[in-house]
Subunit: 228 residues, 2 copies
């Protein structure tokens, strides 16, 4: 089962077709999750979350009431907890509902302390089983994560550029079959190799490392004026 | 001399008072830098960059012509180079112009491979002298960086929350005098401690580590509905 979670970051970073995409996902039987304010944002799109997670302290009473009347499984989180609402949600999605893959929307833009929590949570040992089963998506970016191994990374529809970041110390990082290559790269600190490109005739590039966790960000410009 | 650079990420993440802030900075004799499309964005605000850096390949001919007629120092970068335009700009600002502190606007939102380049460039050994002299600012966030040592971090006007991220392996990380404490924390991988808060009666918190580079993100909600 695929799962989709909507978090509460500002809508301005949503993919422009998010509403259609979520409706289609619902019709396909994918599992819809609202994280805190994301729950009411789903309701505003006339979608019913299968699961809602949060402390909901930012919701108006009538909004919380609407969630409580329509969502079958509501998990109330306790503020000042060790895990963020998003981390709790990941546990529920994979452990309680057996999700095979989880896509996060509404997790970029807005407060960057939230974004960095969302980006780096995949590094936590307790989430290591889910690192490669999570994607972060917004209107210009799709982020996926790779543990040590050899991969053929597919170009996602509509994307042109990509960046590879070793989020942790890395050994023997290799990028090939792309505009810029990297061979046998080692680093004790994170480095971002952005603005790489798929080759014109290719729909993939090759990625490998012996140690470390990699983020691959596929990205696109919204128009020529952002091509910088 | 303080320096301000405008990069070319989408305007929607700019601080709402950026135009007034830049005009005031210009009047105060601060050094204004446009990075690639940021140069023409400064011209559109009727501001004259003291320095423009980029390959300018996204500019229309008349836009480039306008830059060439008004900016005294233009540094043309070569695409496919080792350093990004922003990294080149940092060198010029500190080494050629003796900047004491550099604030980056227009470096968040948009393409996240660009943002991650901008966030992690301070870790590169060749920029280690500038790590603590660079700030990344947008409408909800201000990011600064700290090398090993003991610091009293001041609350910036208008901010409520903060996150601390060890961007590298860290030893003996301590956070005190804030809502959530951390004592003697060690980690071989980056961890984001977001959603911390200044104490109501305090305008500072205490930060220290023995090894590693820390990012401190001060952040705020735009309105109560983003308080999640």
């Amino acid at each position: 089962m695929k799962a989709i979670a909507l978090l509460g970051a500002p809508k301005d970073q949503w993919p422009t077709d998010l509403t259609a995409l979520l409706k289609q996902a619902g019709q396909n039987g994918e599992f819809l999750i609202g994280v805190d304010r994301g729950s009411i944002l789903l309701r505003e799109l006339d979608l019913k979350p299968d699961l809602a997670v949060g402390d909901f302290d930012s919701l108006k009473p009538q909004e919380l009431s609407q969630i409580e009347q329509t969502v079958a499984d509501i998990r109330y989180s306790v503020p000042e907890k060790d895990l963020t609402d998003t981390e709790l949600m990941i546990r529920y999605a994979f452990e309680d509902y057996g999700a095979e893959f989880l896509t996060l929307f509404g997790s970029t833009g807005g407060r960057l302390d939230h974004f960095m929590n969302n980006l780096l949570m995949v590094l936590k040992p307790e989430f290591s089983a889910y690192t490669e089963k999570i994607a972060i998506v917004d209107q210009q970016n799709e982020i996926q994560f790779y543990r040590p191994g050899t991969y053929t990374v597919k170009k996602l529809p509509g994307y042109k550029y990509f960046g590879v970041i070793n989020l942790t110390p890395v050994q023997n990082l290799n990028i090939s079959g792309a505009k810029y290559h990297l061979t046998g790269y080692n680093s004790p600190i994170p480095v971002s190799f952005g603005s790489n490109e798929f080759l014109p005739a290719s729909e993939t590039f090759n990625l490998a490392c012996d140690q470390g966790v990699l983020a691959v960000i596929q990205s696109k410009d919204l128009d020529r004026y952002q091509n910088i």
